[in-house]
């Protein structure tokens, strides 16, 4: 099995990238720490427990809450589409665009639409999709995929952005971030006004009211969902929360964990199309509820908690492995610890069997997870499944032999002792520090006899 790919080695050997990666994640950590001061810790821990409990409950009764949400959205004049997979979801978006005669779509940041490769599908159909989140905009111009769930251009500094803008937008070189933002703003403003359809993800879907909740800092999600005549929100089925009141818990932990803010700048609550007497909002409102493997994860009770994830990215910022290998070596849409447990479950563990093994099991991810997903436990469970399914295959013979031998040796203390003597005698020959004196058990025996 290939564990450490050339791609991983390339990232490790890229000194400037290493610096950006370690620096940016350290800053993200510091911001989170500052907004969860020691005095707030006890309350924060209670919020985590509440969030986990609400998510657990919602997942246990997901069928009920999904139907409740559908009924509410429909009652408000919106449309709900149940998408089994990426193809169904993207086809639905294409159909809406064709019916409306729209050629341009503006998108606010959404990992779920990354997961279904919406932009590629539109491009293949000769239509245009424009990312309006600044980080996503940069990444789209450079034809990359997001490096990080929350900060997609984490691996780019302002000089990289200057290069990308100069090359792809035909503007003069600009290295000042504020001025770079103004360039993006000017271009995006025109796109917002010209777009026939706006697409967003959903941070939460409130079942009792059918409300799609989006948190963001740039105002682009609010514009994407209100300026174009049609709005389509794409939500994984795990995004449900039962009540509007539950947002009191989730909004309190999401921004703190994600961007180190007490609250995001914008929290938009979308409940259907524009109603009579309202002066803004879309004429049409669609909610796509995406499965794409999630119901399979839901069915496996042991790993169901994976679906509690609210995509805050804290586990990425705190993962010492992610901080070395970066976001692009992870297969699938989601990188870092959450990707290491989610991707194998969505696409099958054999797609990238190395993934759950790429962890020292240090537990930093679980420590910061705002919904208390026990990521190390799930990694271990996936490892066991991968080993179990491949243990009789040819490629596993060496490892199988090693662990069979290990178990046998550990059941025979005298042989273990002899093997230890032989092994430690070899250490200095390998240039490793040797052992001082005899093994503990031999020293202890001598001491007892003395």
């Amino acid at each position: 099995m290939q564990y450490e790919s050339q791609q991983i080695l390339n990232v490790l050997n890229d000194a400037p990238l290493q610096q950006k990666l370690y620096g940016a994640t350290a800053r993200n950590q510091a911001k989170r720490r500052n907004v969860i001061p020691p005095a707030f810790q006890p309350e924060f821990q209670k919020l985590r427990e509440a969030a986990r409990d609400i998510k657990r409950h919602t997942l246990d009764y997901l069928d009920y809450y999904l139907e409740q949400a559908e009924a509410q959205v429909t009652a408000h004049g919106g449309h709900v589409f149940w998408a089994r997979d990426a193809a169904e979801a993207t086809s639905y978006v294409l159909d809406v665009m064709r019916r409306r005669g729209a050629r341009l779509l503006v998108k606010s940041k959404s990992m779920t639409t990354e997961e279904i490769h919406l932009n590629d599908r539109l491009e293949d159909a000769g239509l245009e999709a424009v990312e309006t989140d600044l980080g996503e905009f940069i990444i789209q111009l450079n034809r990359e995929r997001p490096y990080h769930i929350v900060t997609p251009a984490l691996h780019k500094d302002r000089y990289d952005v200057a290069d990308i803008f100069e090359r792809t937008l035909g503007v003069g070189r600009e290295e000042v971030p504020e001025k770079q933002t103004l360039i993006a703003r000017r271009i995006l403003r025109e796109k917002f006004l010209a777009a026939g359809v706006g697409v967003s993800g959903a941070n939460f879907v409130v079942a009792e009211t059918g409300t799609v909740v989006i948190v963001e800092n740039e105002g682009n999600a609010r514009l994407s969902s209100s300026a174009p005549p049609v709005h389509i929100a794409v939500a994984g089925i795990e995004k449900l929360v039962p009540r509007l009141a539950d947002l009191g818990v989730f909004l309190n932990i999401l921004a703190r964990s994600a961007t180190g803010q007490a609250l995001s700048i914008y929290t938009s609550m979308l409940s259907g199309p524009r109603r009579e007497g309202e002066i803004d909002g879309p004429e049409e409102f669609h909610l796509i509820l995406l499965d794409n493997g999630r119901s399979r994860v839901l069915a496996g009770r042991e790993r169901r908690e994976t679906l509690q994830c609210i995509r805050c990215g804290a586990c990425l910022n705190h993962c010492p492995v992610f901080r070395k290998i970066g976001g692009h070596v992870y297969p699938g849409t989601y990188s870092g610890p959450i990707g290491a447990i989610l991707t194998p479950q969505l696409s099958g563990p054999q797609e990238a069997p190395w993934l759950p093994f790429a962890s020292s099991l240090c537990g930093a991810c679980a420590e910061v997870c705002p919904v208390k997903i026990d990521i190390p436990k799930l990694l271990l469970s996936l490892r066991a499944e991968i080993v179990e399914s491949a243990k009789d295959e040819k490629a596993s013979w060496a490892e199988k032999l090693a662990f069979r031998f290990y178990a046998w040796l550990m059941k025979h203390p005298r042989l273990f002792d002899m093997a230890g003597e032989a092994g430690t005698a070899v250490l200095p020959l390998l240039g490793l520090p040797g052992r001082e004196g005899q093994s503990f058990r031999r020293q202890w025996r001598q001491r007892s006899q003395a």
């Binding site: 070395k324 020292s360 240090c362 290990y406 001082e436």
Partner: protein
Amino acid sequence: MSTRVALFVTCVVDQLFPRTGMAMAEVLERLGCRVEFPEDQTCCGQPAYNSGWMDEAREVAQRFVRVFEGYEYVVAPSGSCVSMVKNHYPELLGADPFGGRVFEFSQFLTDVLRVEDVGARFAHSVTYHDACHSLRELHIKAGPRRLLANVRGLELREMEPPEECCGFGGTFSVKFPHVSQAMGATKAESIQRTGAEYVASADPSCLMNIDGALRRLGAATRTIHLAEILASR
């Protein structure tokens, strides 16, 4: 009546760092414990467990239970091995054979014997590495520092950041050697920045890994197990 303690020295200490085991025994005896070493002990099974080889891990774990089940207390110089027995055996074996009777060495001192000053003397500057499984699976953070604070002549210097993994992770360091080494290098640098003469920890595997990282960096800092500091006079 003295407390009867079974030493689980761990396979790593037994074969590679016997001095750590002897130091642990010495401190416990000094504090009045009756220390025993069940000679049939080997490993807790963690290498197989963490690598996904559950049947092999179970065989070794079942054996561990037979060797140690008669003792009132089991104490080990490794938070990681203790966490394996305490937190993962219940899942692996479907039962919790030890309940609260297995302790990491420093936790046994502070929480069971309720001792924070063992009368040690160690006139050196020391930085303390929070081993991940001690920190996050056993919630050990303040205890070792209180023990070190009471060592005569010792100057404790905290590293920044203090809670980052050293990159060992057992078979992780074999499967991802370069990633592991990169993590180790970062750890070694933060240790070196403290200027401390020693880096101490309560986990021999982390110390072994950190020792390698410090050597590669060319740093003068030496590694030492907490038990060895507490045994010094």
